[in-house]
Subunit: 139 residues, 3 copies
């Protein structure tokens, strides 16, 4: 049940394609081999109002938070974080050529004792060759 | 001070009424008897950009996070979670008839040492018969 | 890397200027002397759908979550929280004259082991007199 939420200053939409970014990070999460296809949910939330650094109008940010189920090793979490962050850095590369952009990623674990889920996508994907069962990959 | 935030893929708005969902979950939280009326805040944040599972355009999700004050028992938290999730499942029932929807709920406690609040609604409701004082119900 | 996110019911925009609020809280964070200018990111996310307290249409809320790097003392965190909350209370003062508004603030620490960041604003600000290096202030 990995959830990747991208909060971003709305001015970013003028200089980056957030659909492309979402897809790039969706791909990055699958690259790691740690997540099942049917569980990956990447989304971007625009903040129409913001105040960033020295308040220049071109200052922009993307703040990524990845919430994932507990139980993976610290090594695996570090691997996921490093890879997703590297791909996010690529996706936003033109922004880093300016002195007006900041990117962050944070991983937070979901406490399984206080988590509920119901997924109607899994059965469809697990029944086809397109689906990746977690049993085929990692626990 | 219970906060229930629903992040959802914007395509969900075409097949579900988010105002109705917010009200159903507001009701579900009050049903538990653990929350004071004036403190319940349910809201839904649309993500205009997203990448879900196998990227079919009809793939949609709702990701609920309930942040509530610490101090309740694990049993009470489990009860709240189970009830809110059951009511959310009902609210989104037509979606579960498709193979394109995923629902999650997570409960997170708020650390009272690093929490501040000011509520101008409480005095109004506590002064009337409509208000539910927490002293009347549960601690 | 302090992140301040304001979730608010969309009806608040009719009675408060969220750009002004973002700037006031940006100022409040810098006032504390604990954060570097180039790292401060304040933003507001509107919830178009919500259900608050007794469901009067004028019921509104702002829910602030400040995520900041770990390592500061509890005293410093309490000082930051109290100051940001006091300034938020001022920014929303007209709302507290009504019985329809609720404000909260929560501070959450970011686990440095699972945090990644890249900031193109820092070099620009650190190179000028406008920048505040953390070494000049607090650790």
């Amino acid at each position: 049940m990995p959830h990747l939420t991208i909060e971003y200053s709305a001015n970013l939409a003028a200089v980056a394609d957030l659909d492309v970014v979402c897809r790039a990070l969706h791909r990055a999460m699958l690259d790691t081999g740690l997540f099942e296809l049917g569980a990956v949910r990447v989304r971007a939330l625009a903040a129409a109002h913001y105040a960033v650094a020295d308040l220049l109008p071109e200052n922009a940010f993307a703040a990524l938070v990845l919430r994932m189920g507990a139980g993976r090793s610290s090594d695996d979490k570090a691997k996921v974080g490093a890879h997703v962050f590297a791909e996010a850095s690529k996706a936003f590369a033109p922004l880093f050529a300016t002195p007006h952009f900041a990117l962050t990623l944070e991983i937070i674990e979901i406490d399984p004792a206080f988590s509920w889920k119901k997924n109607a996508i899994h059965p469809r994907l697990r029944a086809t060759k397109n689906g990746n069962s977690p049993e085929d990959k990692n626990v």
